[in-house]
Symmetry: D2
């Protein structure tokens, strides 16, 4: 198989999970600008997510967020998804919106609040059992705003204890994906602020615990692809939450702010064998001002383009230049792949998959956008409920 | 008058304006944790602000935010304030929460939206006339999230045009204070992102337009005291929005994150004559998890302590060391002032002003906190309404 | 003329100035790794620079740095350049390497040191008269390392005074280009730390004073293209010092760290009319570990590619999408241009200019690299002399 | 024993190691400003270090840097130190200044260069055997400047292999302290960029391998005290390289840029039991423009002051406030300690130790500064040799 054929084959098997909450309203602390046609229920979110998969062919699963996507009958929800051609993906917990969590959840100084938080996480595993989801994605808003507010080390002890209880509950084939975040909503300490902290906890928990890299959760200037390479080398990269940022956790469309960085990340994924392993590629974005479904289609395409470029890096030439210590040539090999316009290749891939080569145009022609605006009238639009 | 006596005299005349919105609920995009006893009306906000002044003696004015503090009768509001011992301060505009402002306000591509925004600003000047406020504080959330979304330069033209119309409307003794902010809620471009942009606009507008330095609105590592010194030298420092931050615009209590920076800023204010000029010292903070009134009292005290230390810098010794090029000695003179425990001095100042030397303890003893929890039941708590 | 033809025409007239010092050795505070074949004299630097122009066709001028490029006979130097097909460009001053400048140069507390610094700047204007250079490029290492070390405001007064004297000395057709830098080598304050400071000084000096944007001299996260758009709007953008950075002032090859940013900058240049005005496009880089001449050729090509993409942005489509408030479409128009592989276009441009379409390959075939290694034996290699 | 007495006792046993290289010349890539009286030999560096200990009483050891401090007879060097009242401390390796290391040392693509680097590290252990030093401090300048330059993951493999060989060589009572650094001198990837990477390697190496926290080696905004607390909790904090920074690795006097941060770090050290364990407190600074010996005395005093404040935090009150979820009170307890002027306490401590209460004044009166300027004439001043 030629290199190009191999790249095409890889691109056809790519899977990008889209998040249910990205189909709902979101915003900043200053304002949530509601959009017309936004889903009112988890079922409608799945309808939208199915459209993204229909036109891209590589977005077969949908992440849920509990309690935003809480339903009485998860089997019915899973069936609804399957009828539309998608499946339920990772279960995302929420331990930051109950009034009890003002000073933390799993790391809270009071045992009763920690109990409540752990119970919620255990409930999420119950939901995984019901939906058949393999991954429990944990992001904790826990932290402190002021020096002295709480005991940094004590909070780590509590975190370890809570995680251990949840880890024990995981069944066969279930994973715990631990996310880290530099800051926000806590402004002095965050209890899992960096990959090192997540890694140290996962290491102690065991093989079912792995780290999630959210591309917007780092200090300014952090070399994310280095972290990706390191976690893959350690066998601890569980997946990605893709989005992009210019400043903090801006949650813009992935690839919008720094497409070269996204390419470098995908190159390390390919290099480290992550593309054919259990690494989960998920989006976690907020489409505050742009139309949501097209933005998600665009995001999926951005991931595809970065992946295609990463797959086109001439490995032999790169290896030779690196061994020779030829800095300029080694860099040139990588840049040659990056500078390639891979859109024609992806059009071919889509046509070979029986898809329209232009997902956004096809979506627009489908009339779905107009239909949901017309039909989804009344009711309570989905959002974060902050 | 001795140096110490001069410092005391200065501290007694200090005035820190507190913001009405800090007495209401606030939060992050993830959650607003409501607090008991929070005001329901602008009148109740003034009641709380009056308590801060009662116990600190240096918080005589209260900034309003329109429309959050919109009332039918501003004269009644001003009278209510005066009856409690405080006055109405700066009028803060809001052009970021109407649905029309999704893509901007005064910089919006559509003329009709710009008209709406400018009309709001003109209305704020009307309110200033009614309340007797001298300052119109302008912060614009305007900007873009994605490259290409709008024309950077065109937005500057629109900004200039809108500001000019409002400037013309200002009466005698009225100022326009233009705030800049690095990012948030816009994540690619912000239309007034730095002091340079604010300065350039103010320069063209005229002497009634001045720059506001919000201490949380800078890029990482920015030397804020340099900006303060520069703006004072240019005669363009209109005032401060004080708060503190570890990461982005965290809006923590001023002096909580980097008290040494606050001291350095206050030193440049003293050095540049800003302490006895028209520079407005305002707080702009969010007390998301801590009790609001005590947090504001604490913030006012933090400003006092930084000011006291700045006033204690031995100017002659510093000047001598600087002229001699004695780096260590010059630094030592500044550090000597900073390392001084000025709390005893401030206790004296308060006693000489007829106040309790310990404002927080006195406030706690007053029972106000318990009273508002008991009395402010029902109704709609004040907040940002995001 | 079609859009493509217009882009080609523009690309043929592009001029990128290369810096003499980039051909010599450079390094970090930890180590300068000397390279074989590095020039020993300003004449040899010009020989190398001429090669860059020979193969790219768009690097017709060479910036000098005084005293690194001090010679007895500048007319001879200029003639040497012309014989090789290039011309002398901007004169760069150096007020940071004399022992007297430990605490500053033009901002130094002692008048005698300031005199020395201003005299050097005046000497640079003399050299401009001799070489026919139009631009005096000023970068000051001035600043302080410790709070209190010197008076921030006093240093601004001294800066203004020194600049004014030099400005007065400028002849017709001569400009003063004032560079700003966030930090380094000063670590607490820098006397011209941001574009606002440079702009404020240039404004007072007059029309011959303009601001230089060095792409590596900003705080983390700074939106450089916004500054470019703003300075062009104000008529105060004098030029660029191009390079790239991941962290601080890394001085890597331009376009190597964030090619998308370079494209966005070039787009604002095109948008603001800077491409056809007197804006100077200069490189200012350090090739610490890579071969210098090919690195500079590569850098020139990177600027060309970013420019080509910027010229290809469909202005009408962009304008329509912006007016319609179509965030995704407006972004897509810009991304379409960015994602285009412009290398074939640039090969055409070069062939039409009578050049080899592949400058790096042609340079390698020329044998110049081997020749200078063989011939430049003995003597003192050029470097920064730090 | 009262709390104050306990604090005093702790302060008397504190030990801060000073680095031999801080007594020599240092600078930036732009210029090294040589100072009069700087040592010419390792012996003279020890003479200066002994003065710091003589006047502070808490700087009993001196770190060496190989090859900068290479001597023929380490026993003689150790004896020289002892005769002056100090001892030799950590041995610091240098794998960044040989011409072979242009593309790395222990991570270099070529085996021969890696061999050379590992041999140097083994030689450093030999020197430890000769000097009786317990700690091998490893900082690697290894990294890359350009994407693609070398294989990120392959470099980690080489790093692990080299460290393992050195680890095996360690004797009883000897440790390997692995330092991490965000960037510089490498500008794209650094092979040990963060605590997570250092931790992961140390974990695999074994109990003799521990992490060093250099307070200037983090991304902007990083919460260093969190890392300190975490490493102490993991039993992997080997020590500190103290210095301070406003921007990057500025290497200013510790406590000069953010004294509140230093206090928070020392509080976590005290909290985590690090103050009475084997955690090494070392300085690693550059006194580029200030007098070196007084700057180091000042730095030692700054560490003492931060330690004293940390020791004065009222643990019971803090614990009570934290348990009660009283954010403001918990913060107030910490701030009370920080706002205390501990200089009188430290004067007492010094007097009880038989020292002059004012180390800087005593040093100045000693005439040592003038003596070394007069005596150390001729020869080659010590420096970094970059």
């Amino acid at each position: 198989m030629t290199e190009l054929a191999a790249a095409k084959a890889a691109l056809k098997t790519q899977a990008v999970e889209t998040p249910s909450w990205a189909y709902g309203n979101s915003g900043t602390r200053f304002k949530v600008f509601a959009q017309e046609g936004v889903p009112r229920t988890p079922f409608e979110k799945l309808d939208d997510a199915a459209k993204v998969h229909e036109f891209t062919g590589v977005a077969p699963t949908v992440a849920l967020h509990i309690p935003w996507d809480k339903v009485d009958d998860y089997a019915a929800l899973a069936k609804h998804a399957e009828q539309r051609g998608v499946k339920l993906g990772a279960i995302n917990s929420n331990t930051f919106q109950d009034d009890a969590y003002k000073l933390g959840s799993i790391c809270h100084p009071e045992a009763s609040v920690r109990r409540k938080a752990v119970d919620h996480l255990l409930e999420c595993v119950d939901i995984m059992d019901a939906t058949g989801s393999a991954d429990l994605k944990l992001w904790f808003a826990d932290g402190t705003n002021y020096p002295g507010q709480d005991d940094i080390r004590g909070r780590q002890d509590r975190l370890a204890e809570g995680l251990a209880e949840v880890y024990e509950r995981l069944g066969d084939g279930q994973r715990m994906l631990l996310e880290y975040k530099f800051f926000e909503p806590a402004f002095y300490t965050t209890d899992v602020p960096d990959w090192g902290t997540a890694y140290a906890h996962c290491l102690k928990l065991g093989p079912k615990a792995q780290v999630v890299v959210d591309t917007g959760h780092h200090a300014p200037g952090t070399n994310i692809e280095f972290i990706v390479a390191t976690l893959l080398r350690e066998g601890k990269l569980g997946g990605f939450d893709f989005n992009s940022r210019f400043y903090a956790d801006d949650d813009l469309m992935v690839g919008a702010a720094d497409p070269f960085q996204l390419f470098r990340i995908m190159y390390e994924v390919v290099r480290g064998g992550g593309f054919s392993s259990e690494v989960a590629f998920m989006l976690d974005q907020c489409h505050n001002i742009e139309a949501k479904i097209p933005a998600i289609i665009r995001s999926v395409m951005n991931v595809q383009e970065a992946t295609a470029k990463a797959l086109l890096v001439d490995g032999d030439a790169l290896d030779a230049a690196q061994r020779a210590g030829d800095v300029l040539e080694a860099n040139a090999v990588v840049m040659d792949a990056y500078n390639t316009d891979v859109r024609p290749l992806l059009r071919e891939v889509r046509e070979e998959m029986g898809l329209d080569p232009e997902p956004l145009a096809a979506y627009r022609r489908s009339g779905w956008g107009e239909r949901i605006v017309a039909e989804r009238v009344g009711g309570q639009q989905a959002g974060w409920g902050a």
